[in-house]
Amino acid sequence: MDMPVPDAAILSRKAAIVARLRAVLPADAVIDDPAETRAYECDALSAYRARPLAVVLPRSTAEVAAALRVCWEEGVPVVPRGAGTSLAGGSMPSEDSVVLGIARMNAVLEADCDNRYIRVQAGRTNLSVTGAVEAEGFFYAPDPSSQLACAIGGNIAMNSGGAHCLKYGVTTNNLLGVTLVQMDGTVVSIGGPFADAPGLDLLGVICGSEGQLGVVTEATLRILPKPEGARPVLMGFGSNEVAGACVADIIKAGLLPVAIEFMDRPCIRACEAFAHAGYPDCEALLIIEVEGSPAEIDEQLAAITVIARRHDPVALEEATDEAHAKRIWLGRKSAFGAMGQINDYMCLDGTIPVSALPQVLRRIGELSRDYGLEVANVFHAGDGNMHPLILYDANKPGDLERCEAMGADILRLCVEVGGCLTGEHGVGIEKRDLMGVQYRPADLEAQMRVKDVFDPKWLLNPAKVFPLEASAARRAG
């Protein structure tokens, strides 16, 4: 993974830059001791690290604006950071950058259940947004696996999804407004607790821009009334193809479960060994969850079961009570942890048209044999968002590189069948150099023009998203 050579001129001015940051921020909001900045050298893509020049931890929009203004005047790159849970290197710093962490900005500013919105500071964690309104019977829908830790600001930067987005959509579909600080310190308010901000849909392009357009300090989010109940059903099938066909039939029938999760045999085995969820020994497994009152759930699951039986399931198990439901989800929710117990792994995140599922799974199996690396598949089948986990040995020279090469082949395959490189993790540094597989130069140029408008000096998270050679001239200023 190439990163630009750190700017020696910036490194040599470290003391002066830190002093200027200290002049505009409280003493405890600027960190430059290398022993402390080390905690910020990577995010959840931990194979890649760099110690930043300094870290700032502002407590307000005004402090964010002051810090950005200093960096803008000094020409120092800034890497915004939510909770550092990005799997794509979205908040990985460079040595000549200042990390701007928003973790201290975690207040609820306003919760209005009558009008179904909540306004929070962007450092608040995803799960604690729901925590602020669940006593009133409401929740915030996007639920990335890291929701206990990840920050709303990071969710907005990456347009995060989750297991339940089949019904509720991803972050962009649940975001009503933001306060955004541009690199030069300009504070912009966009949208609010009403539908469709006036003018161009700037909110739509800010969401998912990976911290390259500005730092979101406050967000107005749609909250929803909690469903009366939910119940999962577990189904085992004799092959991946049959499980895939079952998913297609359920969707075609007009049924809309809140989640359809798919696991293949290697994944089932690992989860079973780790979590003892009592999964059947089969080639492919689906967990389908529906919501509503008990009678509505019965009605939906009856229709789903009729469809599933046409595909000769080897197991069909409806949750009988809360404990049973938890057990069904236990294996799936511990999938990544389970794989981590037995191996180092790389988690991919491509999306494919649901119809291409059998073909893609077959081809991944062939690639697995060609590269000599095992793959376990776990993914959100209803929307085609795949998470193949490639297993490798970090201590074996060359294994990581082979794993990355195979990952790139799988993502190329996703694009080839009509899908995309990343469904919910983002591009970051991880998929940056594959962008040319999905987009032509004119397509990338159009996206980079948007950054030119928001951040003309290309100082915000500059070495991400776009292939380095494509953004080189702009980054050089």
């Binding site: 009558d114 009008n115 179904r116 347009n159 999804g161 987005c165 959509g169 991803v170 962009t172 579909n173 300009t186 912009v188 308010s189 607790p193 009403f194 539908a195 469709d196 003018g199 161009l200 849909d201 700037l202 739509g204 392009v205 969401c207 998912g208 821009s209 009334p225 075609k252 809309l256 509503g292 009678a295 509505e296 009605e299 939906q300 999306t351 494919i352 048209p353 649901v354 119809s355 929307d383 085609g384 968002n385 009509g418 899908g419 995309c420 490189l421 990343t422 469904g423 591009v427 999905q438 987009y439 032509r440 004119a442 397509d443 990338l444 159009a446 996206q447 948007v450 408008v453 776009f466």
Partner: protein
């Protein structure tokens, strides 16, 4: 100009010397002065996978054709775009590109989101003639910036759409509407908010001509169950209307039929649902005759009143919403004013996507 495909469109834009008026069927939206650029020649459903809930169509494809193709598989566009020809006194054929460029979203927005939320991918030609693709045809896609959203509702001011990919929805097994009588505007709007704050998955919440309308869709047993629970939520005189009769009620709300053929300016106002009476109260205080109807649980206010009330309306809203004049003529601009910071960002985007100012007419 009526290009037959994307390449011809690109040529036409490269060769253009002055302002262009980009239009699909001209059935919605605002049009300035300039040479007409009609997208109606770029047509056809290019891909439809019912089992993947995905449809891709050329921008000039008539909306009716897209809806017919979907209906044949018992599917639909979930965001139910309005047919505003009656209200705006226009004729012509609505195109799917026009729907996307206007982000035209109907009553079901409260449940499934706007047109922009159903848009998965776009192709467009920008003001330099460059063809740009963004997004794709899958439901989850965070690869690069989301220019799909930027194009949705941009009214042709950044480029001319040539193709749009949509996420579509299965038609429900059953549909019903609870009609509530005997409500004041305040108690009716409160009933809408109470329904939307319940777990009963309301897909339409409107207050029209003194009637509360709450739509429920889904499997038959579930619709009956939720109708019963919703009825119990707010005391009132409720009747249940089902099937085609229910659908007709919502077509009337969607197309603002109540204001069609009547004189006056028509305003489309987006506001905080709990503050949905602010504008009508301000007009009443100023003794301006007006009539209002509310959709989206009170979050969308349609207003008919004499021309010249833009300033009163906008000052009543303040920062808590925005108003667009869709019909009538007066000094106050049709489109809502923007903050200086947002206006600067918009100007920057236009300068880069449309450096020669060809699409300026769409600014209204």
């Amino acid at each position: 100009m009526r290009p037959a495909d994307e390449a011809e469109l690109s040529e036409a834009i490269r060769g253009a010397n002055g302002p262009l008026v980009v239009r699909g069927g001209g059935t919605r939206g605002l049009f300035g002065a300039g040479e007409a650029l009609d997208t109606g020649g770029i047509t056809g459903v290019r891909l439809y996978e019912p089992a993947a809930l995905t449809l891709v169509a050329a921008a000039g494809t008539p909306l009716a054709e897209v809806e017919a193709v979907l209906a044949a598989e018992r599917q639909r566009l979930a965001f139910e775009p309005a047919d505003l020809r009656g209200l705006l006194e226009r004729d012509g054929v609505s195109t799917i590109g026009g729907v996307a460029a206007e982000n035209a979203s109907g009553p079901r927005r409260v449940q499934v989101g706007a047109a922009r939320d159903a848009m998965l991918g776009v192709r467009f030609v920008d003001g330099t003639g460059a063809v740009v693709a963004n997004g794709g045809r899958v439901m989850k896609n965070v690869t690069g910036y989301d220019l799909v959203k930027l194009m949705a509702g941009s009214r042709g001011t950044l480029g001319v759409l040539t193709e749009v990919a949509f996420k579509v929805q299965a038609q429900p097994e059953a549909e019903a509407t609870l009609v509530g009588e005997g409500f004041s505007a305040a108690s009716g709007l409160a009933a809408l908010r109470a329904a939307l704050a319940s777990p009963f998955d309301v897909s339409g919440a409107a207050f029209v001509s003194g009637q509360v309308l709450l739509r429920i869709e889904g499997m038959a047993g579930s619709v009956a169950y939720r109708a019963g629970r919703l009825r119990a939520l707010t005391a009132g005189d409720w009747t249940l209307v089902e099937g085609a009769e229910s659908a007709a009620l919502w077509r009337a709300v969607r197309d603002v039929q109540a204001f069609a053929g009547r004189p006056g300016a028509v305003w489309r106002i987006s506001c905080v649902p709990g503050e949905a009476l602010a504008v009508p109260q301000a007009l009443a205080a100023a003794r301006v005759p007006h009539e209002a109807l509310w959709d989206w649980g009170g979050g969308l206010l349609w207003l008919i009143c004499p021309e010249g009330q833009g300033r009163v309306i906008r000052s009543a809203l303040g920062e808590r919403g925005h108003a667009t004049r869709v019909r009538g003529d007066e000094a106050a601009p049709a489109l809502p004013p923007l903050s200086p910071q947002v206006a600067a960002l918009e100007a920057g985007l236009r300068a880069r996507f449309d450096p020669r100012g060809l699409f300026a007419g769409g600014r209204g």
